[in-house]
């Protein structure tokens, strides 16, 4: 028995020491580098509600990626058919994943093009109208559509990761949630609005020609020339502060997109000291840009970002070398954010913010202070009460309480779990249960003593009996906590994690470690009267 007493204290002591070491980094930052090679741990991560920061959930509108894919195919199809000399009438996208086409001429010829080059589309119907005109309805293969959606979501995740990396946030968390949602946690961010506009922006860069023959005013009245669209240039009037909109009549066809960008940097205009974004194309992009500019000298080329015209300079000459710039009335912040999103690439589909929570750093501080204050006061009161009521046995119980907190914090540190406000609630509940466990044991020992048992027998029986109760009540709660974790979300999970760890630590500290102390007192020190 004595031998086992020694081994038990060695084991308990080692476990306690290990737990203390695990959360040592949380207490002090001045630890030697070798420490971290031995102890695989870091500071305990505080949740955004405690340290401040932003929590975002985005929904990727993957349907839009399918739409723009179908849109591109539609434009290709028109070129293809015209190249083969097949007259094309109406050509429209319908319902997101369908194309409605009216063709005339040699039926075999266009059927051949459709069946050979557009295999990912299925023919829904084809009806003969009149004068050899056929109306064909095509639908995108559903498996293909699913793949486009999935690709869009993956790419959106990747792009957002890139943007946040370049923006420079320490320890961001960016994960896929469910099918089409992206969860983003940005601790310690100071300017949530700026981060949102950086993350949420589609950043689709397009180059389109201005329709020099058409008239924007006429087009606005409803006489939109075929194959044209109207987009606006928006800028804030420095005098009135209002936003102005200038309409541009543009050719619908996109000549180039941001896909061929190699780099985008903020630069300063040497004349006016205004910031602009300098673009550099990759090899394909450079060639394409050279072709486009060469073929359209003296025409205006509109630079469009997310359907906003930024500028539409006149092409003076063929531009080789693959460089261009986006000017606008930027301030430095805007220009550098724009450069970041262009470098990181466009989102394949727009995203919608469905949840945003941001906590300023001062509020998090307040919560921590108040949390620590009230926890300390209550801890002191509970500790004093236990000593007052149970004397020496109370001190034993208090040691168990302290160790319980140490073990929970150590476990949080090693599993890199996050401590949140609901998490603290879970911790408080588990401390309450730890107090309860000790009360159960002590009351039971007292009862056994009253029934005339010897000290040893009373301790033996007291622990044995109370243990059943403690196991049952703790396990019931643990089972509930596990289900809460499994099926709960964010805050519920934080609660479940600390509660589960707390319960496990509780059985160890409140039952085994205190038992050792009692055994030590009675067996080794031969205490004859229990102060309980």
């Amino acid at each position: 028995m004595l031998r086992s007493l020694k081994w038990r204290i060695i084991f308990y002591g080692a476990a306690t020491l290990f737990a203390v070491l695990l959360f040592l980094p949380t207490l002090t930052s001045e630890l030697p580098p070798w420490f971290f090679r031995v102890i695989p741990t870091e500071k305990i991560h505080l949740g955004l509600d405690l340290q401040g920061g932003m929590h975002l959930i985005l929904e990727v509108e993957a349907e839009k990626a399918v739409e723009s894919y179908v849109e591109r195919i539609k434009n290709n199809l028109r070129d293809d058919l015209r190249d083969k000399g097949i007259p094309v009438g109406k050509l429209e996208r319908e319902k997101g994943n369908q194309i409605l086409l009216e063709v005339s001429g040699d039926k075999e010829k266009w059927e051949k093009i459709l069946s050979q080059r557009y295999t990912i589309f299925q023919e829904l119907s084809s009806t003969s109208l009149e004068k050899g005109i056929w109306r064909v309805s095509l639908v995108l293969d559903s498996r293909q559509a699913e793949q486009i959606k999935k690709g869009a979501i993956d790419q959106a995740l990747e792009t957002i990761r890139n943007r946040i990396d370049q923006f420079g946030v320490s320890e961001p968390e960016i994960t896929l949630q469910g099918v089409d949602r992206i969860l983003i946690q940005l601790p310690g961010i100071r300017d949530p609005q700026r981060a949102i506009s950086l993350i949420g922006r589609t950043a689709l860069l397009e180059f389109k020609l201005v329709d020099e023959e058409g008239n924007p005013e006429e087009a606005l009245k409803g006489n939109l020339p075929e194959g044209d669209i109207i987009l606006y240039q928006r800028y804030v009037d420095p005098k009135t502060g209002g936003t102005k909109k200038i309409p541009y009549l543009l050719k619908e066809k996109t000549l180039m997109t941001g896909e061929v960008l190699k780099d985008a940097r903020i630069a300063l205009d040497s004349q006016f000291h205004e910031p602009y974004v300098a673009l550099e194309f990759d090899d394909i992009g450079a060639k394409l840009f050279e072709q486009v500019t060469g073929a359209n000298v003296k025409k205006r080329l509109a630079i469009i970002l997310d359907d906003n015209v930024y500028s539409a300079p006149v092409i003076q000459e063929r531009i080789a070398g693959g460089r261009a710039q986006i000017t606008g009335r930027f301030d430095t912040k805007e220009a550098s954010d724009l450069a970041i999103v262009l470098r990181a690439g466009a989102l394949p589909a727009p995203v919608k913010i469905i949840e945003q929570r941001s906590v300023g750093p001062s509020l998090g501080q307040d919560s921590i202070h108040k949390g620590i204050l009230s926890t300390l006061i209550s801890a002191i009161l509970v500790v004093l009460f236990m000593i007052f009521y149970y004397r020496v046995a109370g001190i034993v119980a208090d040691i168990a309480l302290l160790l319980n907190v140490v073990f929970v914090l150590g476990t949080l540190a090693i599993f890199r779990a996050t401590l949140t406000l609901p998490g603290i609630a879970g911790l408080v509940l588990s401390i309450g249960m730890a107090v309860d466990a000790n009360i159960l044991i002590h009351e039971r020992i007292k009862e056994e003593l009253r029934w005339g048992k010897t000290i040893r027998a009373a301790i033996e029986q007291g622990y044995h009996r109370a243990f059943i109760t403690i196991i049952d009540s703790n396990l019931t709660t643990l089972i509930a906590a596990i289900f809460l974790y499994q099926f709960g979300t964010g805050p519920v999970r934080g609660f479940a994690v600390t509660l589960s760890i707390g319960i496990l630590a509780n059985i160890f500290t409140a039952v085994y470690i205190t038992r050792w102390v009692f055994d030590f007192l009675t067996l080794k020190l031969k205490v004859k009267r229990l102060s309980i």
Binding site: I57, P192, I196, G200, K352, I353, I354, E355, Q356, R357, S358, V359, G360, S362, L363, D366, S367, K370, G371, L373, S374, I377, S378, L381, V382, F385, Y389, L421, P422, A425, G426, V428, L429, G432, M433, D436, I439, L440, E443, E447, R450, R465, T469, D472, S473, L475, T476, T477, I479, A480, A481, F483, L484, Q486, F487, G488, T489, P491, V492, F495
Partner: protein, 303 residues
């Protein structure tokens, strides 16, 4: 020290008819209040909407904030004082439209309007309606499944369904009453109050198990006594522990209530009610349910 003298025999179970009516009345009152308010007042977390917490460096009247909001066309918002004198909570329950845009507009125009008072935006929550619904659904599943698992575990450990059932009925009782108080005090049901409900579930079942456990032990010792007496003796024997445990926890919660700040205030208040109900329900709900069930089963067997 002895809080409860050994051999104390309060007749807890004998008062069950009286206490049953208390519980029924409390539950009816709770349901009535929830019904009268047409449901709980869900916070932004569950209902969807916008919540912005702001603090000015100088004393500011609540009316100034209100008029600033009205001037930008945000009409259906609620502004309330929160904590300090110059700290406010702006709430906008709006389940549709581009919430993010509205939130941005409110923030920038307030910044603009109160330039001289250095406004600090301390907290922003924008929750789309879909998210809130998801959260509600998942929380219900989580609670439902944990109840089921408690029922199964307790029934298995005590070898009788009645014990599991007693525990669950007590839990439902506690939750209903806590929701009732949330509704009567017109608190906003948010995520932190949900954490309270979870905590109450934990405490309530813990308390119930402790007494059931003693009953299980005593049944073996007191074969001649009827079940009702065994329950009564067991409750009395564990009374000291019940008072000590609930007492210490109550100390903690009371301190949270008084020192925890405005965020914790509702949290602590709800917890106090839940704790009282949780302790009460073990004696007056969980035990009678077991007794009732056992009586039904045994009387049926006799026939």
């Amino acid at each position: 020290m002895e809080l409860i003298r050994p051999g104390t025999r309060f007749d807890f179970i004998g008062k069950k008819k009286f206490t049953l009516w208390i519980s029924v009345a409390a539950i009816l009152l709770s349901l009535g209040s929830i019904f009268f308010h047409s449901g709980l007042r869900y916070g932004v977390d569950f209902a969807g909407g916008i919540l912005i917490q702001i603090r000015f460096s100088k004393v500011t009247e609540i009316s100034e904030v209100r008029s600033a909001l009205e001037s930008i066309g945000v009409k259906d918002s609620m502004v309330q004082n929160f904590g300090g004198e110059s700290e406010f909570l702006i709430r906008l329950e709006k389940a549709s439209g581009d919430l993010e845009e509205v939130s941005k507009k409110i923030q920038s125009s307030l910044q603009e309007r109160f330039k001289d008072k250095t406004l600090e935006i301390r907290r922003v929550e924008v929750v789309g309606p879909k998210v809130g619904k998801d959260l509600k659904r998942k929380a219900l599943w989580a609670v439902g499944l944990s109840f089921l698992s408690i029922l199964i575990y307790v029934a298995w450990r005590f070898k009788q369904v009645s014990y599991g059932l007693g525990g669950i009925v007590a839990l439902v009782h506690d939750i209903l009453i806590t929701f009732g108080v949330i509704s009567i005090a017109d608190l906003e049901y948010s995520l932190s109050l949900m954490a309270v409900i979870l905590t109450i579930i934990g405490f309530s079942i813990n308390d119930t198990i402790v007494i059931f456990d003693r009953v299980r032990e005593n049944i073996k010792k007191m074969r001649k006594e009827n079940l009702e007496t065994v329950f009564n003796i067991s409750i009395n024997e564990t009374l000291g522990r019940t008072i000590l445990t609930s007492g210490t926890v109550m100390i903690v919660v009371l301190i949270l209530f008084f020192f925890g700040g405005p965020v914790i205030h509702d949290f602590a208040l709800t917890l106090i009610v839940g704790l009282i109900s949780g302790t009460y329900s073990t004696v007056y709900i969980a035990s009678p349910v077991v007794l009732f069930w056992s009586k039904q089963v045994t009387s049926k067997r006799k026939h």
